[in-house]
Symmetry: C2
Subunit: 206 residues, 2 copies
DNA sequence: TATATTATTTAACACTGTTAATTTGTAAGA
DNA sequence: TCTTACAAATTAACAGTGTTAAATAATATA
């Protein structure tokens, strides 16, 4: 039946319409000002219709976060590293991560700080074996391994180091976002020190 | 006039009553479930009376955060470090910070992530000269200086290193709180690695 | 005791997310 | 083409939120 297909397509289009309206509101007024009624107003429908396409407001927020976060993950894992040394690669990855995250602070914060199980499924990174499921941890672990190829550092430890790197970088990003209006010069010095020294030191196994 | 004094005292008592009721609600149901009406119900007054003692709900939340955060800062700056080496002291401070913060996750998160100017005034740490105003950065900076007493590392750089230490530690704590239910063994390995290795490496100037 | 001041309450406004019942629109079968 | 079935969309309502203005109760001053 072609009907079912069209229905499905229309449903998907409506979902998209709702999500992009929601996205616009978030962009303009922030997450805390997103409301079902505002979305409805924007798409010129009654508020309740939204519940035909999403179970609740949290689901809408979940989708928005997922999109934002996917962009971040992509930007980082597909990093075009100009450097050929593992140290240079780690630097590039870290700088890239910080830049991308700071460009979409709202999406980054809400994705990273959400305690919703659905979101955590995507953002969790501190479990054993994360390097096999989470591209970022995987990439970092490989990088750490390369950096320490001379001395003997087992995969488990490399994973833990990778996790230390990611939480540290997240801490920097989060604090830079929360603590807005930092003097540009100091801000840049801090980022440069973190990228060029801190991260490399954390990566070193011994 | 003794009257004015008593009035003032009674006003302070009422404020305290409101704050401790609010605190209890937060403890029992979390920040997101705190409401003016619930507070009013708990202290057996009408909701509007609260606006005689606090300008709005944000002010109440601000006071709650301030209290929680003060506890954290105290627990860290008054750390009873058993060690006499600067490295040992840094370890103790870091472990202490993580332990205390993880014991009051709600207060920690809301204080650390609030963008309210009032709160930021207390929690901001990434500006130049923070080591002179913020006890934590100050203590960390001194520690870093001691660790690097052999090589020449100027105060400015020590401050930046201190800031890298604090954001990294915060990142770990925040991620541990958000990502609840991590396997205890892995969690402890992670914390131990961070305290015993990561932080020390970040602290090293060269 | 009357007046002024302060504490407290009542009622209301403008929001919020969400549900049940109802109406409108559309496709399929007789 | 008309009726039946189903999906889409709306209206009305509930229970909750923060907050304000106006009215009332309580208390201190003169």
């Amino acid at each position: 039946m072609a009907l079912q297909e069209r229905r499905e397509r229309e449903k998907e289009e409506m979902k998209e319409k709702i999500l992009s309206a929601a996205s616009a509101i978030v962009r303009e007024e922030g997450y805390e000002n997103l409301s079902i009624r505002k979305i409805a107003n924007k798409i010129e429908y009654s508020p309740t219709i939204i519940y035909h396409y999403f179970v609740d407001k949290d689901e809408i927020i979940y989708y928005l976060m997922q999109r934002g976060y996917r962009k971040i993950v992509q930007a980082i894992t597909c990093a075009n590293s100009t450097s050929d040394t593992p140290e240079g690669h780690l630097k590039d990855m870290t700088r890239n991560y910080i830049d991308v995250a700071l460009k979409m602070p709202d999406e980054y914060m809400s994705a990273q700080l959400s305690k919703s199980p659905k979101v955590i499924k995507h953002t969790s990174m501190l479990y054993k074996g994360a390097s096999e499921n989470k591209p970022i941890i995987g990439a970092l672990q490989q990088c750490v391994k390369q950096i320490n190829k001379d001395i003997n550092v087992d995969d488990d430890k490399c994973e833990i180091i990778a996790q230390c790197i990611i939480v540290s970088t997240m801490g920097l990003v989060i604090k830079l976002i929360v603590e807005n209006g930092i003097d540009d010069e100091h801000r840049n010095r801090l980022i440069e020190h973190f990228v060029n020294e801190t991260v490399l030191k954390i990566a070193k196994g011994e």
